[in-house]
Subunit: 143 residues, 2 copies
DNA sequence: CTCGCGAATAGGAACGATTACTGATCACCG
DNA sequence: CGGTGATCAGTAATCGTTCCTATTCGCGAG
């Protein structure tokens, strides 16, 4: 089972001072299982399959901790709860306005965008995200 | 007063079939007055100064219509209500994690990002937004 | 100028996502 | 084994936003 938990993740927990609890491991596992970009509720339902006693609030807290220590990412669209992602590299995620599915746009990075923005603003930039909206092929066909 | 309402905006209303009501004009005005990227609540408070009878729901409905016809834009961050913007060109907005202020990063466009993403996905792309988080100089100094 | 009608509004209730609270449990240290 | 602080389950509360309904508005037909 959870023997294979990346060294890097354990290290991040250790350094942050947070405990690597079974619930937090379960949330990570759920994010791995679900191919897409699940919401907190999605993660909650997955985690509950193996441990029916987990509380939704615990999932929110776990997601928050995991994001804080840089193990997962979160993005925000209109008309959708927050979506979470194991991919913490800068990348593009697109949400279908028809069916609501969120998926990744592979092969397209931010390029030099982050460098350019850091050079152009006096802010200390901590995070940059690109969110895209559109219609997936299926929904486009459906009309 | 509202004599100077861009031809383009009137035209968009006409084509969409929506009515250009006094409340919708007031919401546009409020967005013009407020330099930054106000929330619906911010807009509501501004509009109420001139017409205390407006309802918050009306402001939400107006913002929704204005976004739909392409006159304003909206972006979503964590820990903040939706922020609205008269700038509908693709551009970068940054939110300070300290004080919550949202401002624009001038001089940095998306470059060829939109072209590349359209080429790389089978989706029909309708909208792409970049949201950035960081610390403004004041908050960085404060600590 | 009235009347009629659909669109828009004010006001307030309802909703969904997220957070806050609280007593019980857990992980870890000595 | 106890003690101690972090975490958790369960639930209440909050917040942004949407929904609902009676009333008003804008406007064209007569
Ligand atoms: Mn992703
Ligand atoms: Mn902007
Ligand atoms: Zn779809
Ligand atoms: Zn600041």
């Amino acid at each position: 089972m959870g023997v294979t938990l990346e060294r890097d993740i354990r290290e991040r927990f250790r350094r942050s001072g947070y405990t690597l609890t079974s619930q937090r491991k379960a949330v990570l596992e759920a994010l791995g299982e679900s191919r897409g970009h699940p919401s907190a509720e999605d993660v909650y339902l997955l985690v509950k399959k193996k441990n029916p006693r987990v509380a939704l609030g615990t999932v929110y807290q776990a997601l928050s901790v995991l994001e804080e220590i840089g193990v997962i990412g979160a993005k925000h669209w209109s008309e959708s709860p927050t979506r979470y992602d194991l991919n913490v590299e800068p990348h593009l995620d697109i949400r279908c306005l028809g069916c609501g599915a969120v998926s990744e746009i592979p092969g397209v990075g931010l390029g030099d965008l982050e460098d350019r923005l850091r050079a152009a603003t006096p802010y200390e930039v901590t995070h940059a995200a690109v969110v895209v909206e559109g219609l997936c092929p299926a929904c486009r066909a459906a009309g």
